[in-house]
Symmetry: C2
Subunit: 191 residues, 2 copies
DNA sequence: TACGGGTATGTCAGTGACTGACATAAAGCT
DNA sequence: AGCTTTATGTCAGTCACTGACATACCCGTA
């Protein structure tokens, strides 16, 4: 029954096992109290193998970030031409939010872990900065100039960030996409 | 001639020597190619002493961040009551910019070093996030609610960030405060 | 079925960031 | 001159991460 996705050499899905082991251990003992060796051991691999799959110990918590980024970028490029840069960027954020909408519980657990550790917050901020860059690039492709592209990208990601914080702290009813719409409205009201 | 600022035990200003040694070495060989021991050696202290003054190797490049943060916070609290949250926050950014206006050359050298190293960018983003938090807190003290305070804080720091990037890449004539005003105007035009 | 190449893994030794514990010298106070 | 406080030096240790090399699994091909 082995498929082409069994990158592992012994048992299948070594990467998935490491991802799950890391989430478990970080939730149980905390990030700093978990060594890379601990994660590898629970996943049934070697520490060296862990570092072959993840550039560093933190990266195991940011596995989906590349997909998120590409989803946003694609949505921005696919948005109607008549949308303003800010609206196009917000469309990208809404598309990205769609990826998380299904996994609210996982997002909550994960954000708790990140909130407890400054070095994880740093990494999260770097990923958000990458999202800003990708967004700005997409807006420029659509014809936006500077500093409009950069400012719209920053603003849209800010909306994403603030909406995400409300979404994970609320009891879920609102829905991520709705949070984004509300937050975007609040931003417009500011100015 | 020793003053109360000679925190050092042997020669005066051990901290200042480490700050300068770090900037020199990072500029010469790069951040990663410089060990904490290298910095300590050039400063005439021990590696252990370096880590007593700076929480980690990166922190030596962010010595003034606390002052910057407090300056912004104070300016926001001191701003006229009739200013909108966004305008008050921008007043804080202008005050913070005033601290850097005098040291354009140093800011340029430093930002080159940071631009060359992802882990330094992470730290810079964390400091900016602290600035956002402090700004939002000051705005709430002034009576702003949520999510207005958070959004205005994020927007103001975005303006600071974009204006800073233009200020260090330009040949200096504009002046940091002027950059901030222009960037703020561009942001308002977006929405 | 045997072989050969590509790829994921295991093993091991090493570097460098950072920390805790303890000793010591300098500065300040009385 | 003592006494206290503070900044430093010394040393041993943990852990994140890396390069080099050996090894086992997978797959296509003869």
């Amino acid at each position: 029954m082995a498929t082409i996705l069994d990158m592992g050499r012994w048992k299948p899905d070594a990467r998935g096992r490491m991802l799950r082991a890391a989430m478990e251990l970080f939730a149980e003992r905390g990030f700093e109290q978990t060594t890379a060796g601990d994660i590898a051991e629970r996943a049934g691999v070697t520490e060296r193998t862990f570092f072959r799959h993840f550039a560093d110990k933190r990266e195991v918590l940011f596995d989906g970030s590349g997909t998120l980024l590409r989803t946003a970028q694609d949505a921005i490029l696919a948005a109607p031409d008549n949308l303003s840069p800010l609206d196009a960027a917000l469309a990208g954020m809404a598309a990205a939010a769609g990826l998380l909408a299904d996994i609210h519980d996982h997002a909550v657990r994960r954000s708790r872990i990140v909130a407890d550790n400054p070095s994880l917050q740093e990494r999260e901020l770097l990923k958000l900065a990458s999202l800003v860059d990708a967004t700005a690039e997409a807006l420029r492709t659509r014809g936006a100039g500077e500093p409009a592209a950069s400012l719209a990208a920053h603003s849209a990601v800010t909306v994403f960030q603030v909406a995400f914080a409300r979404w994970v702290s609320a009891a879920e009813p609102p829905g991520f996409t709705a949070c984004i719409a509300e937050t975007a409205a609040a931003l417009r009201a500011l100015i």
